[in-house]
Amino acid sequence: MSFHPSMDYGRGHHKSARALPEEGPAFAFTADRRATLEDICSRYPAEQRKSAVIAALYLAQAQQGYITRNAMRHVAEVIRCTPAEVEDVVTFYTMFYTRPVGRHVLQVCRTLSCALMGAERVTEELSKTLGIRPGETDAKGEFTLLEVECLGACDRAPVVGVNDHWHECQAPDAVRALVEGLRANGEAAVTGCHLDVESRTK
């Protein structure tokens, strides 16, 4: 155990737990996804298929929405590594979900540049509008709200990741419009990434 002589440890320290994802239904890649994965594997030396593990997990997530233990076993089989090595990767990177998420995963950047521009308020408003806290999914499975670390769009702050896309310059008082837009038009409601700074700033 690590120790500092004058640190008030309080409660909640050193709680390391291995949270296993659910078993889930039987899993195997569709033929298309399997072919895509083999194409990706061909980018690495033949004995280095493990380099494609992240790509394989993205494909599994695209197929099933989130990563289960059965999916991890299948990925291990296809990549030819151990399920433990796959779990090692799944539990390290933030972009793999081990629980079901909503159709729209809203990821509010909370790091300094976005926070300076009101990201805390964006999260607060989203939380109010959707009736869920960060880390939760609404009852209908429409939205998941997450707080994430710097997305690298600091000049277009606050930025909200919507699934794989970006919604930029999100004003706290325009949150309802984003939510309604996503409900009505799906990802078409997202501004996307654009670099034309001039037109957006006064």
Binding site: S2, H4, S6, M7, G10, R43, P45, Q48, K50, S51, A52, I54, A55, Y58, I79, C81, E85, D88, V89, F92, Y93, T94, M95, F96, R110, T111, L112, S113, A115, L116, M117, G118, E120, R121, T123, E124, S127, R133, P134, G135, E136, V148, E149, C150, G152, A153, C154, D155, R156, G161, D164, H165, W166, G192, C193, L195, D196, V197, E198, T201
Partner: protein, 434 residues
């Protein structure tokens, strides 16, 4: 300075192969392939190009260190992880000028004897990956990438490799680990990647902006490049300005330009947003010490900012006005470092958590004066005691803000509340069940 890296980024279709070739693209590659690898390295060395990822290490030297006598394959890994808070320049280059990056990768491969370059892009840049893959396919079809490039007999492949969300993957050996399909955790050095990098082979890891400068050096000559900036700080530089300024964005300038000009000039960020005063500037991404308003009249160069007591780092300039509570800012950053620590080294994994807890206590108004010494003690025990620079990066915001804004910390403790209530903050915090 006339922009060169970002000259066409606002042009419609500026990212396409046709446009790139029409504006003189891939001519530097042709020129480089007619030179020997050593001549290319000598040109890059003569230009004085320093790595744009954060450390500012001379690129020519990095390439020279690559073990060319090794019988194993060599690799270029392009670091497109761009995860340092406040940094968003490589994003612009990749999305709007991808062929310049490809050309830089190819010239780099020629220089170190590599046949493959991997562009490791962060998982959150999905839309950028789409652009890269599409343009890469065009370049391959046109014979600029792949076998017998431009009929010269040079074979070289470029692949895009997407990460999945990890700040640590921006560290060069952690990037290599991640590329090998493992957790992004740093390696013990030596051996350095130049000797044993990707798959144990000699590897050069270079930032996107660094590689983008290489074709310019080959095309226009090392003298042109060096003359653009102060001594040892040559070339064009991209600056990312965010926070409380009128016009946040990516700006290209020479490193003669001062930090003050970048923030206040109408040519750049245009000054502090309406009616507010500058309080502090973090000049090189969240991991570097904060500068005060009277410290920013210095060249925004590696050496200029070092003289002012901070670092140019990744040139992510975060500007804060007087509504910003510095205890809160430090807490915000330590939340980041605590979350992103890869967990390999104890001082960083535990220290980051401790610092965040103590800062949270002070920010909430539950702090005691002795906590300030504790902060300095914990942070001091992280500096220089970890495998990679992450430990130093996490300790710096604390050491720097306690030193520079000690009175503000003391006021929090004395009054038992945050003394700088910002209108842009949420009324209630800690909504999350993290």
């Amino acid at each position: 300075m006339e922009p060169v890296l970002t000259k066409y980024v606002r042009e419609a279709g500026g990212q396409t192969l046709d446009f790139y070739v029409k504006t003189g693209g891939y001519q530097a590659l042709r020129k480089a392939l007619a030179m020997t690898p050593d001549e290319v390295i000598d040109a890059v060395k003569a230009s004085g190009l320093r790595g744009r990822g954060g450390a500012g290490f001379p690129t020519g030297m990095k390439w020279q260190f690559v073990d060319k006598k090794s019988p194993r394959p060599k690799y270029i890994c392009c670091n497109a992880d761009e995860s340092e808070p406040g940094t968003f320049k490589d994003h612009v280059l990749m999305e709007r000028n991808p062929h310049l990056l490809f050309e830089g990768c190819l010239i780099g491969c020629h220089a170190i004897g590599a046949k493959v370059a991997y562009i490791y892009i962060r998982g959150e840049f999905y839309h950028v990956q789409q652009v890269l893959e599409a343009e890469l396919a065009r370049a391959r079809a046109a014979g600029y990438v792949g076998r017998n490039i431009m009929g010269t007999g040079f074979d070289c492949e470029i692949y895009v490799h997407r990460g999945a969300g990890a700040y640590e993957a921006g560290e060069e050996t952690a990037l290599i680990e991640s590329l090998e399909g493992k957790r992004a955790q740093p390696r013990l050095k030596p051996p350095f990647p130049a000797v044993a990098g990707l798959y144990g082979c000699p590897t050069a890891v270079n930032n996107v902006e660094t590689l983008c400068n290489v074709p310019l050096i080959i095309e226009r000559g090392p003298e042109w490049f060096a003359a653009l900036g102060p001594e040892k700080n040559g070339g064009p530089k991209l600056f990312c300005i965010s926070g409380h300024v009128k016009r946040p964005g990516t700006y290209e300038a020479s490193m003669h330009t001062t930090l003050k000009e970048l923030i206040y000039s109408d040519e750049f960020a245009g000054g502090i947003r309406g009616g507010h005063q500058l309080k502090g500037v973090i000049p090189g991404g969240s991991s570097v010490p904060v500068l005060l308003p009277d410290q920013i009249d210095v060249p925004a160069s590696f050496d200029g900012i070092a003289r002012a007591g901070s670092m140019l780092g990744s040139a992510g300039i975060i500007v804060m006005d007087e509504t910003t509570c510095m205890v809160w800012a430090a807490e915000n950053l330590l939340y980041f470092y605590r979350h992103e620590s890869c967990g390999k080294c104890t001082p960083c994994r535990e220290g980051g958590d401790w610092l965040h807890r103590i800062l949270g206590k002070i920010e909430r108004g539950d702090g005691q004066m002795k906590d300030l010494d504790l902060l300095l003690s914990v942070a001091g025990n992280m500096m220089g005691k970890t495998l990679c620079a992450f430990g130093d990066a996490a300790a710096t915001p604390v050491l720097s803000t306690v030193k520079t804004f000690r009175a503000e910390y003391e006021a929090h403790i004395r009054e038992g509340r945050c003394t700088v209530p910002a209108p842009w903050r949420a009324a209630t915090r800690a909504l999350a069940a993290h």
